[in-house]
């Protein structure tokens, strides 16, 4: 199954490359140039958005995983976008041997750098690479578990709710395209590495909102978002 996930990740990466074929082609042609020609602000004001793929995460995760996320970014310097993201997530895992649920809030902040050189100020699409640092606080509970013992007898139990926190670092590669005036859609691939995990004895902290399964030290994730640019001038631009 892991192999399938890697294959999928590869396909997604190829799709990114294909969808930005022209842009990358242009970029490679301009590699010889010492500096970028789009050293101007691409966006006025701030861009606020939400991740529309959050309610559908069960499509690529085991169990039921859903939530909401809002984000805000602005262009600090040409092609440099500080980002803050805040959200809430819940994960439920109901199967024969375990009944688990976890929910909590998270905050991520970081910065995106636009790799796509714009030909004019009207071109606002961006292909970006970014980094994030994330923090989450969550509560988990194992409402019931059963031991797989088909010979002697069935043994079961439960664990009360536990609070824990998690911190992680993240690399993001994504696209954001203006599909209507000031209205953007985009998607991104996230590679996350856990930095600090909740130190619980038993059971272990298993899911971190905003991160995913923290039984793994690192994980891939995917997001699709929509956003709107509130156009107003910041400072003396």
């Amino acid at each position: 199954m892991k192999i399938l996930k890697y294959i999928l990740t590869t396909i997604i990466s190829i799709l990114i490359l294909c969808s930005t074929e022209n842009a990358i082609g242009q970029q490679s042609q301009k590699k010889k140039k010492p500096t970028r020609n789009d050293n101007f602000f691409h966006m006025e004001g701030i861009r606020i958005g939400t991740v529309v793929s959050m309610p559908f995460q069960s499509l690529w995760n085991k169990g039921d995983r859903y939530g909401v996320e809002g984000n805000v970014e602005f262009e600090l310097k040409p092609n440099l976008y500080p980002v803050a993201e805040i959200g809430w997530e819940k994960k439920k895992m109901n199967q024969d041997y375990i009944n688990y649920n976890s929910s909590g809030s998270y905050l991520r902040f970081g910065i995106n750098y636009n790799l796509l050189e714009a030909e004019s100020r009207q071109e606002k699409d961006i292909l970006y690479i970014g980094c994030r640092y994330g923090l989450s606080y969550a509560t988990q509970q194992i409402e019931s578990y059963k031991i797989n013992d088909s010979y002697w007898n069935v043994n079961s139990g439960s664990f009360p709710s536990q609070n824990y926190h998690c911190q992680w670092a993240e690399i993001v590669l994504g696209l954001k395209g203006e599909i209507a005036k000031n209205f953007y859609m985009g998607w991104a691939i996230h590679y996350k590495v856990a930095v600090l995990r909740g130190d619980l004895d038993m059971p272990m902290a298993s899911f971190a909102p905003g991160y995913g399964n923290i039984e793994n030290g690192s994980t891939f994730d995917f997001s699709y978002s929509i956003s709107y640019n509130l156009p107003f001038r910041i400072g003396t631009r």
């Binding site: 799709l15 041997y97 375990i98 578990y145 059963k146 031991i147 059971p203 272990m204």
Partner: protein
């Protein structure tokens, strides 16, 4: 870019749905068995005994008249597990005392017990002695007990 966005979203969600369809199976928590070897006290005798085994108070057989020198037995979640062993048609009882440690496999698979053998008790109709080469019983099979069979019969 607008149209390609929609296409890419569709392709990705379709792919993920297919992947999820394959992925939505959960592995069982591991089963833990103690490994038990049989040997004759007279080391010159190398044939395999005919073994049957079942848990004391349980109707179903764990091992049914098998010619072997190696069997695996599951422990109960109590502090001891008692087995009735039939070795070459002669019955003995083996009681293994152990401590149990609840272990988490993963949030997808759940929990299982690992055991530490603390002591043993047995009848000596056919069993001569029992050694404990490794008292730790985990999901990885290894030899925990060595049962020496007397060859008086």
């Amino acid at each position: 870019m607008n149209h390609s966005h929609i296409k890419i979203l569709f392709i990705i969600l379709t792919g993920l749905s297919i992947l999820n369809g394959c992925d939505e199976t959960f592995e069982l928590p591991p089963s833990v068995y103690s490994g038990i070897n049989f040997a004759y006290s007279d080391s010159s005798k190398t044939t395999s005994p005919i073994i049957s085994a079942y848990g004391l108070g349980i109707d179903s057989l764990l091992v049914d008249s098998v010619s072997t020198k190696k069997i695996s037995l599951p422990f109960s979640v109590n502090d001891n597990s008692a087995f009735v062993l039939t070795i070459d048609s002669i019955i003995d009882t083996l009681t293994i005392y152990h401590t149990n440690t609840l272990t988490e496999e993963s949030i997808e698979s759940g929990f299982y017990y690992e055991y530490k053998i603390t002591s043993i008790n047995f009848t000596t109709n056919r069993i001569d002695s029992v050694a404990i080469p490794d008292s730790t019983v985990t999901s990885i099979w290894n030899e925990n007990l060595e049962i020496y069979i007397n060859d008086n019969n």
